[in-house]
């Protein structure tokens, strides 16, 4: 089940659990500004192929 989180929980996940942050906004918006180290996978491109670089053992946070 997906868990909605706030900023403090996001920071905790990054710091303590090596969370993988995924920016699902259109690439143009990602290019303008994104959370440091976030990777870009726009929603329309979210497929089994594009998510293959993500580890399934670590948390994934989308925004």
């Amino acid at each position: 089940m997906v868990t909605a989180i706030d900023r403090s929980e996001l920071l905790r996940l990054i710091e303590n659990e090596e969370a993988q942050v995924v920016d699902v906004l259109p690439e143009r918006e990602y290019t303008e500004a994104h959370i440091p180290n976030a990777i870009s996978i726009p929603l329309r491109q979210l497929t089994s192929n594009t998510v293959s670089p993500l580890s399934r053992d670590k948390p994934v946070v989308v925004y």
Binding site: M1, V2, T3, A4, I5, D6, R7, S8, E9, L10, L11, R12, L13, I14, E15, A19, V21, V22, D23, V24, L25, E29, Y30, T31, E32, A33, H34, I35, P36, N37, A38, I41, L43, L46, T47, S48, V51, L54, R56, K58, P59, V60, V61, V62, Y63
Partner: protein, 179 residues
């Protein structure tokens, strides 16, 4: 958009999926650093300094006055127990008796700005109004620091004040004006 992405990731077999609902707007508004082309624009956070004196509403003015002057400031920001900005001490407020409670002389509900605001228009407004200091807070009102017009003008003219790395418990930290 992110709830749909989170659901799709779950269907793709990911078990630990989280949705940062407030997204990049919330991240930027809290003054945290970003990467990307927009990061080159100078923001309020770039000239914000965290070293101003603070007090609580229930302290005695005499104690706060001494602390503020010893630190080399003539203003003090009043925050409540949750770190939210509730007032400001300056000018005539300092003339009250030592045993006056801060909340009785502070300016309640001072104007604040967000750290992700673009710096140049803010400095233009400050110059027009003769303002030398503004308080920088999170969208929820939590104190981040203050912006001195003098610091901001130096930054905008290519003579930035010396900066130091500010550690932040539980967050990535950021560059800030050296106290």
């Amino acid at each position: 958009m992110s709830p749909r992405a989170a659901c799709r990731l779950e269907r793709l077999g990911f078990e630990k999926v989280y949705d940062y609902v407030a997204g990049i707007a919330d991240w930027k508004a809290s003054g945290l650093p970003t990467e990307g082309t927009a990061a080159a624009v100078q923001r309020v956070a770039d000239a914000t300094r965290p070293d101003m004196p603070t007090s609580t509403p229930t302290e005695q003015l005499g104690d706060v006055r001494s602390r503020t002057r010893d630190a080399g400031w003539d203003e003090c920001i009043v925050i409540d127990c949750d770190g939210l900005v509730v007032g400001r001490l300056r000018n005539q407020a300092w003339e009250a008796e030592d045993d006056t409670t801060v909340e009785n002389v502070m300016e309640p509900g001072p104007t604040t700005v967000r750290p992700d605001g673009i710096l140049q228009p803010l400095v233009d407004r400050m110059t027009k109004r003769g303002t030398t200091l503004v308080i920088v807070t999170t969208p929820q009102g939590g104190l981040i620091g203050v912006l001195l017009r003098e610091d901001a003008e130096r930054l905008l003219t290519g003579e930035p004040p010396e900066q130091v790395w500010l550690d932040c418990e539980g967050c990535p930290g950021r560059w800030t004006v050296k106290p």
